[in-house]
Symmetry: C2
Subunit: 260 residues, 2 copies
């Protein structure tokens, strides 16, 4: 399994991915899921991936070599040549479709799950930051301010904290912290997601450097965040009163009624 989050804020774009891969529960390894697709002056595009690893690698390989052009005189079509993030997302979607067409019949016959999904984020030519979610069929949606994040992989454990805390006007600092809390909840409940985590932060100003950080299992900030969050949750739980209806007494079954 996998867990990746992309967050599109007024201030910038954040991508976080775990690195745990498994082929069966007894075959776990560490594999980078945050991939750099283009790294050129004023253009930087990354993809976070979830799902079948061989299909993912086929997509990444196709994109690295470039997809064939309709006109044989043109060179192969690569992400870095696209004039906009929208066209980059279309190219990636096309690669997802092509990889699926090539591998899905055999995987389906073998009873192996073939689905993948991708978060595609970055900018082209110093243009605006964009974040897309690309589905297994190659179709995609763009992240909008009303729901400023996408998740792929084991989404549900870490969704409540994002739903509660994340909005388009959150600061980058706050959003990275909340994303790491979301990962902390996920790794406690799902052993198929694990450290290290890869974090990338793009600021709106294309002149500012992209921050890239691998958070290792012994990372002091992450350990502190996890311990403090546990302690604060315990204190918060203790601060909430017990349910009043448990102290009721009677000599039989209490009828259903509201405590309101």
């Amino acid at each position: 399994m996998t867990y990746c989050v992309g967050i599109m804020l007024r201030q910038g774009l954040i991508m976080v991915a775990d690195t745990r891969t498994n082929a069966g529960i007894d075959n776990i390894s560490t594999y980078r899921k945050l991939h750099v697709l283009a790294d050129a002056k004023d253009s930087f595009i990354v993809a976070a991936s979830a799902g079948n690893l061989s299909v993912t690698q086929l997509v990444l390989g196709m994109l690295a070599e470039g997809l064939p052009s309709r006109d044989p005189d043109d060179g192969p079509r690569k992400v870095e040549h696209m004039p906009s993030m929208f066209q980059a997302a279309q190219l990636v979607g096309e690669a997802v479709m092509a990889a699926g067409a090539q591998l899905k019949p055999a995987l389906h016959a073998a009873g192996v799950a073939s689905g993948i999904s991708l978060l595609l984020g970055g900018r082209i030519g110093g243009g605006p930051l964009k974040l897309f979610l690309i589905y297994d069929a190659g179709n995609f949606i763009e992240c909008q301010p009303d729901s400023p994040f996408f998740q792929i992989g084991a989404c549900q454990y870490g969704k409540p904290i994002l739903d509660r805390a994340m909005n388009y006007d959150s600061t980058i600092d706050e959003a990275v912290k909340v994303a790491l809390l979301s990962f902390d909840s996920t790794i406690r409940s799902d052993k198929s997601v694990g450290l290290p985590f890869d974090v990338m932060v793009f600021r709106n100003d294309p002149q500012l450097p992209i921050i890239k950080r691998r958070i290792e299992p012994d990372d002091a900030y992450m350990r502190n965040l996890s311990n403090r969050w546990s302690m604060l949750l315990n204190e918060s739980r203790a601060a909430i009163p017990d349910p009043p209806f448990l102290s009721e007494d009677g000599d039989g079954v209490v009828e259903l009624k509201s405590a309101g």
Copy 2:
């Protein structure tokens, strides 16, 4: 969708279920998912259900009428006649298999999801409280002190809080509170789960009454719990320092490294 939790503590047994049912996102209604299967002197057995509503109702109908006996001179086999909770779970599992055999071919042909799962809890003849999770194939497992809760339905949103807070020696008061926090996280992130919630609490002493409570959308305790929990989570988030690696500066891409 559905969300149900059963918690087996040293002090007793707790069952909580939501009541939202949908046949498509545009057809939502309220439907009780916590069903009383047996209510007799010293015996009280309930089942919480998730999954296809028609398969669930077929199972409940079969159990209410009783399953046929091998010897035609014997009457139909009913949950309340079983000598132990283990045999009650076997009978319910048998009904799940029979209902599946009857309905699954047609549902599969129609492309309708047919799966169900049940939490079966209670006691027979003043015996010990037991909690079972019955799967779609009719097989089942019993709850054990090492992992003192089962969930069915939309499990993942509300699992981190249970994983953090629940253990076999938790008090009933604390466990009901944590269960309701788990429901609060779930309904925020999944609109297919909703109030009212049905709560039942069985104490170890069979002489103590079973507490049954329907928590309505306007329930004062639940509203207070939800508001306070939101406020405490906000305060807790604010109390955690921001990630230190975001304040780094440079004139290019920072290399991947640990903040540890």
